[in-house]
Symmetry: C2
Subunit: 130 residues, 2 copies
């Protein structure tokens, strides 16, 4: 068994001792503040059960707004508002066909993010999975 998370970082600062040095070193290794803010905003979009259910439904195939509303047992307006948020995040893309508008996932990354989250939950729920 090896220690996985030493109090002192490995890479750039092997034997720093003061808190200030540890902080400075850690800060240097972190992504830009701006990027981390965007990452948080992205996860915020995934962090609502209505939107997660929409994304989950779209993992397989595109669906129109009214089908999503029926599927989730919610009003059309609520779905439309959430789709707006998903569109803004570029996670979902509309396609018009007559009066109907079909929504589909916009990005392959949605799959991997969703899968990573789902895997963690399934792992926590019942032993090892996937």
């Amino acid at each position: 068994m090896e220690n996985k998370t030493p109090a002192i970082p490995e890479g750039c600062c092997a034997e720093l001792e003061t808190h200030e040095d540890v902080v400075a070193c850690t800060r240097a290794q972190m992504p830009d503040e701006e990027v981390l803010y965007d990452v948080a905003e992205l996860f915020k979009v995934f962090g609502d059960s209505t939107r997660i259910r929409i994304l989950s439904a779209l993992l397989d195939h595109e669906l129109c707004v009214c089908d999503l509303a029926e599927l989730l047992g919610m009003g059309q307006s609520a779905i439309s508002h959430q789709l707006r948020i998903l569109r803004a995040a570029e996670l979902v893309r509309p396609r018009r066909d007559g009066k109907t508008i079909y929504y589909a996932l916009d990005d392959e990354h949605v799959h991997s993010i969703f899968a990573a989250g789902l895997q963690h939950i399934l792992h926590k729920r019942g032993g090892i999975s996937l």
Copy 2:
């Protein structure tokens, strides 16, 4: 090139036409409501810039509360409250050493979820990356 998101799902319902059938089929293929709720709750924890910065800092090595506070330029109390949320989600784990308490990531999945989100953001920001 193959069509990736057909209006009609592939697996169980190859030529369903009514909305009701599409909805029923989609519902059958989705994870349990309960699981999706938990997934949303998980992403909610990632969906705050303070917590994302904490997790990002801990990706490398454990840190104590006061270092995190200094690193993020925030009060000790705010950090402590957020660590409580991260602990409840089992994303972070405390280790006492005298008066100091060091926090480290609790789960390998944190890495993969964080990486998936970061990758999407970096991809959107500047061309292809990673």
